[in-house]
Structure formats: structure tokens, C-alpha cells
């Protein structure tokens, strides 16, 4: 019967956690349990997605709340105080057991633990830390742990969390301060950013200490991340991009997650009824990518937006930028600097690296480029190769556009 209880709780507390987009298990340090003690391993590179749900999201970690009771009343949150959802609470030991039994069967890479706020921020944070401590110390668990820190928790508790966790995070929730005020009246942008700054300092300090003392403890080696909800406040894509750029810059975040607001059961009247198109979320991730991997400055990404500050839904932001700044094209693949090749729609970072390596040995033709990219048709109008030059394309009004995106709902038989 005890197991049934755990299962019922799991249903409630996983359901309550699913609005958090993050499930990454990447970017930590290499650990193994080859010594026969404990269990688990992590790698420094990419994580592993052990399954995918029909929402297209990766299932890498056991993502649950310790409890979905909460003293806060954030309108977008299914767990808010005024919501009628069923409440449940795991004990720390239950979470530990569940994590280990899933891990042993190779269902997961580790644990992502968050919680509603019960009692006080400190009390809640203590419970979260206890789960991580028990996994690490009592069971020598060497898999991945991501802990969500609680707003306004004592810095010492957050420090404890960072010592056990691979990654820690706190959500900024809404892209604008006015949106946060409307939708999460108990939260404050200043206090959230204060906590981020504290974690950022601790991550830098411990990384620095380890340069001098090998035995210095690690603090969240996979860094910190955050999430903002898209489409529940009035922020435009341009606002969101610039907010994200500020967060990356100020707090050295590893990732900013964007979560298209989705309707929740027992919704508050403050919320919009309909979700924004999922494509909007996708375009924001692409914009984020442009800043992180393609050397675009935040202002340049914003340039890709339309007059209303929104990214076009029909084409990706890199193509939108290229169409706006046709004068920068075509780019000669045999001589252009890497940063210009990165601007070519359809050329990914890997293709660019391959082009740069290959052209050291010989001049590249269009057929060569075709072997290095996914779609030659997409890149061709924008580049010059040894045997190819687009015909005055930079001035032509119509660059071939991709076919309209497929409908989001798909038949499934």
C-alpha cells in the first residue's frame, strides 16, 4: 500500500512540476562510480534524454516538486495558494528512494527538485537541501542533481544546495517587472536578481578557489539557469531578447529557458485564456542561439524582429536578419571571415567550422558546400563559391522562402 501512496503522490507532484521547461543534464563534470561505491555517473558534455514525451520535451531527470502546497499566489502557477489542485507532499526519504530506483533502471540521469513554499522559504529550502545531501552523502549518488532555489531563502542554505547540486536555478518568471507584479505579486524582480547575483558570485569564487586548491569544494559545476514565461505578459520578443541578454551578461547564466505560457487547470482570471503559438517559443530559442553561438549582439537579434518587436513566425530570425540586411551578402565561402559565414542563413556552426577547415586545403565549389550543409537551396542565394555567384540576388525582392510550416497538431495513428 505504501507504494500506491508514493505513486499517487508522484502523479500529483510530477504533474505540478511539468511547467518548468528545463530538464537538461548537461555541462557538469565527469564523475563515475567505477570504484564500486555508490551509483551513477555524469559527463562533462551533453546530457542524455532517456525518453521524450508527446510534447516533444526531453525526459532526462526525475522532475518533481517536494510539495505542491504553496503560500504564494502566482497567477500563472497551478500550485498557487488559491488553486483547487490536490495537494501532496513527499518526504525527503521518498524522493531519495524514487530517484535511486529510477536511476538503477536507467530511466533517468538524476533529479530535478523544486518545491512550493511551505512554512517559510528557509524551511522549504532546508528540505530540498536534505534530499540532495542524503543522495550524495548517504547513498554516494553521482548522477545529476538540479535544485531550484527558493526565493528569499538564506544564502547559507543556497550555498549548501550549490555544494551538492550540479546545477541550481531560480526563475525570473516574467520578462517584465510589470508582468511579474501583476502575475506574481509576492515575488520581486530585485530579490530574484539578488539571489542570481549571489549564486553567480559563489560559482565564480569556487571555480577560482579550485585553480589554487584542488581540494576546494565545487559549487554547482553546471552553473545556473533560469526560465521565463512567454505570452502571459505584454513583453514583445524584442523585450524578451534584451532581458535574456542582460541575464546572460550580468549573472553568467548557462541557459535561459523560454516557456510558452500554457493553459493550466483551475486557471486564475488574470491569465490569458489561449496559449501563444509554440512557434513563438521556438523563435525565441533560435534568437537565443544567435546570441550564444553565432556572435550576434542583442541589438542585432532585435533587428531581426518586425516593427512591433516580434520575431516573424514564418521564417527563422537568422533568415529574417539576412533579408533585412541584404547588403551584407553574398558571402564568399573561400575568403569570408568566420563571423560572416555564421551570418549565412542555413549554415550552422558545425558547417562553418568545416568550411573554414576545408578551405585551408583547396578552394571550395558549390558542390562542396552541398556536402557540408543540410540544404544547399537555402544557403545558395547568400554565398559565393569557386564556381558559383548568385545573380544579383542581394537586390532581388524574393529570396526563396521555406514552405509554410506544417500544422502543429499532427495525426498520429
Amino acid at each position: 500500500m505504501a507504494q500506491l501512496d508514493t505513486r499517487a503522490k508522484l502523479e500529483i507532484l510530477a504533474d505540478a512540476a511539468k511547467y518548468d521547461a528545463s530538464c537538461a543534464s548537461s555541462g557538469s563534470i565527469k564523475r563515475t562510480s567505477r570504484d564500486g561505491k555508490g551509483i551513477g555517473s555524469t559527463d562533462s558534455g551533453m546530457g542524455i534524454c532517456h525518453a521524450y514525451a508527446p510534447d516533444g520535451r526531453c525526459i532526462s531527470l526525475l522532475k518533481i516538486l517536494l510539495t505542491n502546497s504553496c503560500i504564494f499566489d502566482c497567477h500563472y502557477c497551478i500550485n498557487r495558494k488559491s488553486s483547487n489542485v490536490r495537494r501532496a507532499r513527499f518526504t525527503a526519504e521518498e524522493v531519495v528512494r524514487l530517484t535511486l530506483s529510477f536511476y538503477r533502471r536507467n530511466y533517468i540521469e538524476g533529479l530535478f527538485l523544486s518545491s512550493g513554499i511551505i512554512g517559510s522559504s528557509n524551511y522549504t529550502m532546508e528540505q530540498i537541501v536534505e534530499v540532495a545531501r542524503s543522495l550524495r552523502e548517504d547513498h554516494e549518488f553521482r548522477g545529476y542533481i538540479h535544485l531550484k532555489t527558493i526565493p528569499d531563502a538564506d544564502p547559507e542554505l543556497i550555498h549548501q544546495a550549490g555544494l551538492h547540486a550540479d546545477r541550481i536555478s531560480i526563475n525570473v518568471e516574467l520578462p517584465t517587472a510589470s508582468g511579474l507584479k501583476r502575475l506574481a505579486p509576492e515575488k520581486s524582480q530585485d530579490r530574484i536578481e539578488g539571489a542570481m547575483a549571489g549564486m553567480s558570485d559563489a560559482i565564480l569564487d569556487t571555480a577560482d578557489a579550485r585553480k589554487h586548491y584542488k581540494s576546494a569544494p565545487r559549487f554547482a559545476p553546471a552553473g545556473q539557469s533560469t526560465q521565463m514565461i512567454v505570452g502571459a505578459d505584454a513583453a514583445t520578443d524584442r523585450d524578451i531578447v534584451s532581458r535574456a541578454a542582460g541575464l546572460y551578461g550580468s549573472f553568467g547564466l548557462k541557459r535561459v529557458y523560454y516557456s510558452a505560457f500554457s493553459p493550466i487547470p483551475d486557471a486564475s482570471a488574470v491569465l490569458p485564456l489561449q496559449r501563444p503559438p509554440l512557434m513563438r517559443e521556438h523563435r525565441l530559442y533560435q534568437s537565443d542561439w544567435l546570441m550564444r553561438f553565432y556572435d550576434f549582439k542583442p541589438g542585432e537579434v532585435a533587428d531581426a524582429a518586425d516593427d512591433n518587436g516580434m520575431m516573424r513566425l514564418d521564417i527563422d530570425p537568422k533568415l529574417a536578419w539576412a533579408l533585412k540586411f541584404r547588403g551584407s551578402f553574398p558571402v564568399d565561402v573561400n575568403i569570408a571571415p568566420r563571423e560572416m559565414l555564421l551570418r549565412v542563413p542555413g549554415l550552422g556552426t558545425r558547417a562553418v567550422d568545416k568550411i573554414v577547415a576545408a578551405r585551408r586545403g583547396r578552394r571550395l565549389s558549390l558542390a562542396d558546400i552541398g556536402r557540408l550543409t543540410v540544404s544547399l537551396a537555402k544557403v545558395r542565394p547568400f554565398l559565393i563559391a569557386s564556381d558559383w555567384r548568385p545573380v544579383a540576388l542581394a537586390d532581388k525582392a524574393d529570396v526563396p522562402l521555406p514552405p509554410p510550416p506544417a500544422k502543429q497538431m499532427e495525426l498520429f495513428g
Binding site: 505513486r7 511547467y19 542524455i48 521524450y52 516533444g56 505578459d233 577547415a357
Partner: protein, 463 residues
């Protein structure tokens, strides 16, 4: 003596015998035997009749290759492509002649071999992801057993991952080609197995399925994305995938249900929600109009109003007062409402665009028509207002309001005077904007148009 055109047969111990391949290919390079003259034989497959066995290794050939080639070959050799041994040999010969060859990813051979390696890496990754252990009780203690069907010959190469992770458990991974077993101290190999050799269940799987179903967000279906990363060929050995069809089937209904509940049984905080929304709108910068306008002019009226009227944009007086419909057009509107039998205190009035757009002419601010971009930017607020008020009827006053509500240009003369269906659901009526009446120079025409306007309002209110 070796004839230049003699065939050579090289035997490999197994499909993934990288060391055997390396030894054979070293000897072939040393002896100058071209790749097409080598017959690669794996395990106990019958030998080629004309094959000539390689002479015993007579000292390693004296050449070196870049580390990157060894890494690439170690991966590519695990592929099932029968040509892989010869392709790698050819690549090696070309690499010795052109040391930078591997940097040339556009070279067709480099690309093909890298393609093999990439497919192998993916298979390795998917095995790490999708192996599912089931616990069985054995006299010595628990053993965790998995059945997996890889595409390529990756099992031995992949064993180290499971060792690093599960060294303290006793486990077995059974595959059609080979089985590997870890007893806590040594890794043993056994023959291939069948699915029937593996346990057929584990009580924890029910928990895992519960988790899988609960973590799925029905408000966002992206089946294509799921299939790309978790192709169906893996499903048969994963306990959670049995749930996929029912989750998808139920998803749309669950989302529609949530939206419907929110629509019909809103929370008890609509007043507060409206006040918060209005406050947020005060700092709106969604379009550039906020730069010159005095303030956001938000809608007003009871939040449970049965009728919601949408005008164009605030004018000079509204901009200063911060309230909609207080200028000359507003006064005319009030008069028409009264004649149509509509109590102004029971309706909600707002504008399609919430900042005043004007051109400065001397000291006067002359109204300027908002463009499509500004209307689109401001639609967000109208949608929020309509979601809160949930009016039975929405009345668009003028082309700008109609464009905002319908998302496209609408011809008023053709659509006025009858009920229309809004794109997101709901009933709408269209008529002219009262300022249009003020601009008509001919008093007779103005009177006629005013009468039509009142008739439209009446129809919208009482039909």
C-alpha cells in the same frame, strides 16, 4: 612472392574487431596492396577461394596517422555497412598521401566515413538512453537485466558507459548479437539472446509510466519532435511508450477542457485581474506610440458587461484625461447610445489602440490613423480585456476596431448591421466610428448616417 594483383584475405575476429583491422591494414600498406585487392572476412564466414592469407606480421609498418583518424575509424568500424573496412583502408591510403585530408569534410570519401561514424555515435547514444533494466531476484542478490536491439555493432564499445555508471550493481545487457554481464568485479561476454531470455516486467515500471504520463503537458503537442528523437523502432522495448497513443488522443480534449473551464468558471478575482492588467498597460511599450502620447488610455466599464465597444484610439482630450470616449466623438456616442436604449453605465468601452497617435501642427495635435503594425501590437490588450469581460457581444466602431478584432481589413458597408462570428469565437457587430459622423459636411447626410448608426447600435443590443 606477392603478385601485385593478388587478392589478400584478412580475417577479423568479429564485426567490431578494430585491432584486427588495424593490424591487417598496416600490413597491406606495408606491402603496397590496394584496398580493392583485399577481402575482409569476419569470424567464421567461409573464406574466399582465391584469397591469400596475410603473412605473419613482420614488424609494424612505419607510419603514423593523426589521432582524429583513429577515433573516426574506431567508430566507423562499428557500422553494419559491409564496405566499411575497405572504405577506411582507402581513406587511410589517401590520408598518407595528403595529411590534411580529414579537415576536408567536403571530400566525398571523408564525408561518407564521417556519416558512418555519426550514425554509430547516435546508436551508441540511443543505447545509453533507451536501455531499460528490469530487476530480477537471484540467489546472490538482485540483478538488473535489459534487452536491447542496437542497429550496429556497438555493444562491446558501449559497455564502459554502463560500467562507469552501474559498477555497484550486478547487471546484464542482452542483445541479438552478444550479451554482456557484470557481476560486480568482471565483465563477461555471452552469446546473443532473444527477447524471451529477458525478464518481462518490473513493478517499478508502473511508477515510471505514471511519471511519464504526468510530466507530459497536454497543452503542447509536438509529436514530430518526439518521433525525431525517439523513433518508433525503439518503442517496443520501452515500457513508457505504450502510453503515447492515449496521451495524444486525450491531449486536445484536456487542453480544450482547461480553456473552457477558465472561460466559464473564471476565478473570483476578475476585478483585481482587470486592475492589474490596466496597471501593466500603463507601462506598455509594445509599439513606439507610447513615446509621444501622454498616457495609456485603457478601457473602462463594468468587468461583467454584456456589451463591449471598441473604438479606434484615444483623441486629444482622451489622451489628457486618461479615459476613453470623453471628447466630441464620445459625446456623440453617448447620445446615440441613449437613443438606442443602451445604458452607458452597463457597457465596457475601450479602444483598438491605446495611445494617442497625432501629428503636431503648430500648437494643435492632429489625430493620425494608426497603422496595421500599431493595431497588431495593441491587439494583445484587447484580447486580455475581452478574456476578462467575456462580453456576449462585441461592437467594433469603425475600420480600425474591426481590423483589430478580425485581424484583417473589413469593409464596414458590407458587414454592418448583422451578427458576425469572431475568429476566436464570440459574436461581433460592426458599425461606423462616431467621429465619422462628425466629419460629414452635409447636414442631411449626417442625419441619415446618424440614424443608421443608432439603428446599428439598437440591432446589436436587442437582436
Amino acid at each position: 612472392m606477392l603478385a601485385a594483383d593478388a587478392m589478400r584475405e584478412i580475417a577479423l575476429d568479429a564485426e567490431d574487431d578494430f585491432d584486427g583491422w588495424r593490424e591487417g591494414v598496416r600490413a597491406a600498406v606495408r606491402d603496397g596492396i590496394a584496398p580493392e585487392r583485399i577481402v575482409w572476412r569476419v569470424g567464421s564466414a567461409p573464406g574466399e577461394l582465391f584469397g591469400e592469407a596475410a603473412p605473419a606480421a613482420a614488424g609494424a609498418a612505419s607510419f603514423t596517422v593523426p589521432r582524429a583518424f583513429v577515433d573516426l575509424a574506431r567508430k566507423a568500424i562499428l557500422h553494419s555497412d559491409r564496405e566499411r573496412f575497405a572504405l577506411l583502408h582507402t581513406l587511410l591510403v589517401r590520408l598518407l598521401a595528403r595529411p590534411g585530408l580529414l579537415d576536408d569534410a567536403a571530400d566525398p570519401l571523408v564525408r561518407r566515413v564521417e556519416g558512418l561514424a555519426r550514425e554509430v555515435r547516435r546508436d551508441i547514444h540511443k543505447m545509453r538512453a533507451f536501455v531499460r533494466f528490469r530487476e530480477v531476484a537471484e540467489p546472490e542478490g538482485a540483478r538488473f537485466v535489459a534487452w536491447f536491439e542496437p542497429d550496429f555493432h556497438i555493444v562491446r564499445a558501449n559497455a564502459v558507459f554502463f560500467l562507469d555508471r552501474f559498477a555497484s550493481m550486478r547487471w546484464s545487457i542482452l542483445t541479438p548479437e552478444v550479451s554482456i554481464h557484470w557481476d560486480g568485479a568482471t565483465l563477461a561476454e555471452g552469446p546473443g539472446a532473444t527477447k524471451a531470455d529477458a525478464p518481462d516486467g518490473d513493478p517499478v515500471e508502473a511508477m515510471w509510466q505514471s511519471y511519464y504520463a504526468a510530466i507530459f503537458n497536454p497543452a503542447r503537442l509536438k509529436v514530430g519532435m518526439m518521433l525525431k528523437e525517439m523513433p518508433r523502432k525503439y518503442w517496443k522495448n520501452m515500457p513508457e511508450t505504450a502510453l503515447v497513443p492515449q496521451l495524444i488522443a486525450g491531449a486536445q480534449a484536456r487542453e480544450a477542457g482547461m480553456v473552457e473551464t477558465a472561460r466559464t468558471k473564471p476565478g473570483g478575482n476578475i476585478e483585481a485581474a482587470w486592475a492589474a492588467l490596466r496597471e501593466e498597460a500603463m507601462s506598455c511599450t509594445r509599439c513606439p506610440l507610447h513615446e509621444h502620447a501622454t498616457q495609456t488610455v485603457f478601457g473602462e466599464g463594468p468587468v461583467d458587461a454584456a456589451m463591449l465597444f471598441v473604438g479606434e484610439q484615444p483623441g486629444d482630450q482622451e489622451d489628457l484625461a486618461g479615459r476613453p470616449f470623453v471628447g466630441p466623438a464620445g459625446q456623440l456616442f453617448d447620445r446615440a447610445l441613449a437613443e438606442a436604449g443602451i445604458d452607458r453605465d452597463t457597457i465596457y468601452v475601450t479602444n483598438a489602440v491605446k495611445h494617442f497617435k497625432f501629428e503636431q501642427r503648430g500648437k494643435r495635435r492632429i489625430h493620425a490613423k494608426p497603422d496595421a503594425g500599431e493595431i497588431t501590437a495593441c491587439r494583445w490588450w484587447i484580447e486580455q480585456e475581452r478574456a476578462l469581460v467575456r462580453p456576449k457581444r462585441t461592437v467594433a466602431l469603425g475600420a480600425t476596431a474591426a481590423r483589430s478584432l478580425f485581424g484583417k481589413a473589413v469593409t464596414i458597408s458590407r458587414e454592418r448591421g448583422r451578427a458576425l462570428e469572431l475568429p476566436g469565437g464570440g459574436e461581433a457587430w460592426i458599425t461606423v466610428h462616431p467621429s465619422y459622423l462628425l466629419r460629414l459636411p452635409d447636414p442631411t447626410a449626417r442625419a441619415e448616417e446618424y440614424a443608421r448608426f443608432v439603428a446599428d447600435l439598437k440591432a446589436a443590443a436587442h437582436t
